[in-house]
């Protein structure tokens, strides 16, 4: 795995000054001198960034994600074929480098490598959209509940509990059955309506404790309104958990979308999604590549996202100053 900019100790240091360029180690040579002791101020974010850059697992996850998602984003350029180009003379061929059929072809001769890459794009779009929309819902619900407390909190949290107790997959299947297989966006919206609960609870907890802080009272005494206090003063304190949760829910959403598509209730067939690609392998148990490649891709994506999420969690925890190996 790639090591982020190792400090090269064994090489003789030519001059002291050049050493300062090592990221994460820069000690305020360039700092403002005030009484000769002042170091350059470092923000919370720069500490967090350094911690993240030193987190090996997270960095490898990030690199993998950039490659895989990059392939998804630029699918048009990366994929050797279109995802619906049919070649009936070359059906169910195994993986080969010939004609760039790296992952073989499917039952009607479509290049499976291209289909997987376009599947990545679909899954990625669903995951990011769901994470983004559900984070917004979760933040608003959690912030309002935690800040106002009382009956507002009670109502919002009971609704949250209700959504949490609903068996998401069953509801999604029902919805899909009623509405028919949908476009990618419909699936995404439905998923987003289920994914906000965890974050709402986290944000509510943080708001509950922070609204008692004196700086909130000071903001009130300065004449700030509720909305301003919630989103300008308290929200920045909760960004850590929000970012971590948002990242992890990209992975979770991709898995659930895959499960839905696998069961045939997700995204409509011509558009490939990792779930439906895996499902298509069921008909051809001997043609291993049809199941293995999309499955492996899904696994890699989700594991990488979770590594990145873990890294962010460690990096954004302000209690932690210890440098992680």
């Amino acid at each position: 795995m790639t090591e982020p900019t190792p400090v090269q100790v064994d090489k003789p240091v030519v001059s002291q000054v050049s050493d300062v360029t090592t990221p994460g180690m820069a000690v305020g040579i360039d700092g403002t001198y005030e009484a000769g002791l002042e170091l350059k101020a470092r923000s919370q974010w720069s500490y967090a960034r350094n911690r993240f850059l030193r987190h090996r697992l997270a960095m490898s996850g990030l690199i993998v994600l950039v490659i895989v998602f990059g392939a998804g984003i630029f699918a048009n350029l990366v994929a050797p074929y279109s995802f619906e180009e049919i070649d009936l003379t070359n059906v169910l061929a195994g993986p080969t480098t010939a004609a760039h059929h790296f992952f073989g072809t499917d039952e009607i001769g479509r290049d499976f490598f291209s289909r997987v890459i376009f599947g990545i794009r679909t899954s990625m779009e669903v995951g990011v959209f769901v994470a983004f929309v559900s984070s917004i819902i979760g933040v608003i619900v959690g912030a309002v509940a935690g800040y106002y407390g009382g009956w507002i909190d009670n109502i919002l949290m009971r609704i949250t509990d209700l959504v949490l107790t609903l068996p998401a997959l069953a509801i999604l299947l029902t919805a899909a059955a009623l509405l028919g297989q949908g476009s990618q966006w419909r699936v995404s919206v439905i998923l987003a309506l289920f994914f906000w609960t965890g974050l709402a609870r986290i944000v509510r907890g943080v708001f509950l404790s922070l609204r008692e802080k004196e700086y909130v009272e000071a903001a009130k005494a300065a004449g700030s309104g509720d909305i301003r206090i919630m989103f300008r003063h308290i929200l920045p304190n909760t960004l850590g958990p929000i970012v971590v949760n948002g990242t992890l829910s990209v992975g979770a959403a991709i898995i659930v979308e895959a499960a839905l598509s696998f069961l045939g209730f997700g995204i409509k067939p011509p558009t490939p999604s990792l779930g439906s690609l895996i499902a298509s392998g069921q008909q051809f148990p001997q043609k291993w590549w049809i199941t293995v490649f999309p499955g492996l891709t899904l696994l890699i994506i989700v594991v990488a996202i979770n590594f990145v999420g873990d890294g962010l969690r460690d990096a954004l925890d302000p209690q932690q100053r210890r440098v992680r190996a």
């Binding site: 403002t32 005030e34 101020a41 923000s43 919370q44 802080k213 004196e214 700086y215 009272e217 000071a218 903001a219 009130k220 005494a221 300065a222 004449g223 700030s224 309104g225 301003r228 300008r232 003063h233 920045p236 304190n237 960004l239």
Partner: protein
């Protein structure tokens, strides 16, 4: 006499708790005049803070409740204002400095940004460069060195005294006509206290804001204030100008407070605390709330049964005391009175 900036009449604030109703502030009235510094002193729980927080709508309601009273500020009653109106007053015309500068600044926002917020909240159309200029000017005014580079610092990069300076800067950002400082130096160590008080004085000279200084430190009162209000058990027990209060206190509680301080010019082996406990604000002693601890009461019936009214006393201008037997204290000086008369305070 000039028009008062703030005129509080018959303010009653209660808190409902599981144990009963707490009478935090019980029927107090006072005026604050332009440009003056009014000290409010008293023990913890005497209602000092609540009396000022409540008029700005800063006590949680419920459980808090303003049961009665008016607070006229520039011809308007703060207690009858709508939430939105009151918000416009807070931080603009009336500003507060809080006790603990360590927790009163938001740890994740840059100091300069937070000060700018105080301006932007009330003047959202103000261009950003002008706000920044003003913030730097404010930081310079309160004596923060290198305000240009300090602007981009986070609160954890400020020392305690520096943070309190920043808080003071924030409070005067919109040139308020009334500044309420709630124990502004309690959380700071003594040398820093002196500096912060200096800053407060300078700021007051600059802005001509009337100041209410809430404290339990009589030294700060003597240093900073022109007039003093002494509170006990949610009531005002004595008020007067600072000279009179220190020279001729006419309430046994005020005398007790002063006697409990060590006088550094004398060789004192023991502190002389006021015996007993502050009164429970749920079941207040009948009559004068101070009578169980009072050296003057000696179990007299009137003290136990009749609530003493706050009445004018001869001692000096604007001097009033809520003691049935205030006259018996004539000639009895606090130990801070000069010269110390024979058989005086002890």
């Amino acid at each position: 006499m000039p028009e008062p900036v703030l005129s509080i009449r018959n303010l009653i604030v209660e808190f409902r708790t599981e144990d009963g109703v707490v009478h935090a502030v019980d029927d107090i009235s006072y005026d604050v005049f332009p440009g003056e510094t009014l000290g409010i002193v008293g023990e913890s729980g005497s209602g000092k803070s609540v009396s000022t927080m409540s008029i700005l709508g800063l006590i949680p309601q419920p459980p808090g409740r303003i049961a009665n009273g008016t607070a006229m500020f520039k011809g308007k009653d703060l207690l009858k204002m709508k939430k939105r109106e009151l918000r416009r007053v807070r931080g603009d015309e009336v500003a507060m400095v809080f006790q603990d500068p360590m927790t009163s600044l938001n740890p994740v926002l840059k100091v300069g940004y937070q000060l700018g917020e105080a301006i932007k909240t009330h003047y959202p159309k103000e261009p950003n460069e002008k706000v920044k200029e003003r913030v730097i000017e404010l930081l310079r005014l309160v004596g923060v060195p290198n305000p240009e580079s300090r602007y981009d610092n986070y609160p954890h990069e400020f020392s305690g005294g520096m943070r309190q300076r920043a808080m003071i800067a924030m409070s005067i950002a919109n040139s308020p006509s009334l500044l309420i400082a709630d124990e502004p130096t309690t959380a700071l160590d003594v040398t820093i206290q002196a500096q912060v008080l200096e800053v407060l004085k300078r700021v007051q000279a600059e802005t001509h804001a009337a100041t209410i200084l809430i404290t339990h430190d009589l030294g700060i009162v003597a240093e900073m204030c022109e007039r003093v209000i002494v509170m006990y058990g949610g009531k005002i027990v004595e008020h007067g100008d600072v000279h009179t209060i220190f020279q001729n206190p006419r309430h046994p509680y005020t005398i007790g407070l002063m006697d409990s301080l060590p006088k550094l010019t004398e060789d004192e082996e023991w502190l002389r605390p006021i015996p007993g406990q502050p009164p429970s604000l749920i079941n207040r002693p009948p009559g004068c709330a101070f009578h169980p601890r009072c050296f003057l009461s000696q179990g007299r019936l009137q003290c136990r049964e009749e609530v003493p009214p706050l009445r004018p006393i001869d001692g000096g201008k604007d001097h009033a005391s809520a003691c049935h037997f205030a006259e018996e204290l004539i000639g009895r000086h606090s130990k801070f009175a000069e010269p110390v008369p024979a058989g005086g305070a002890s």
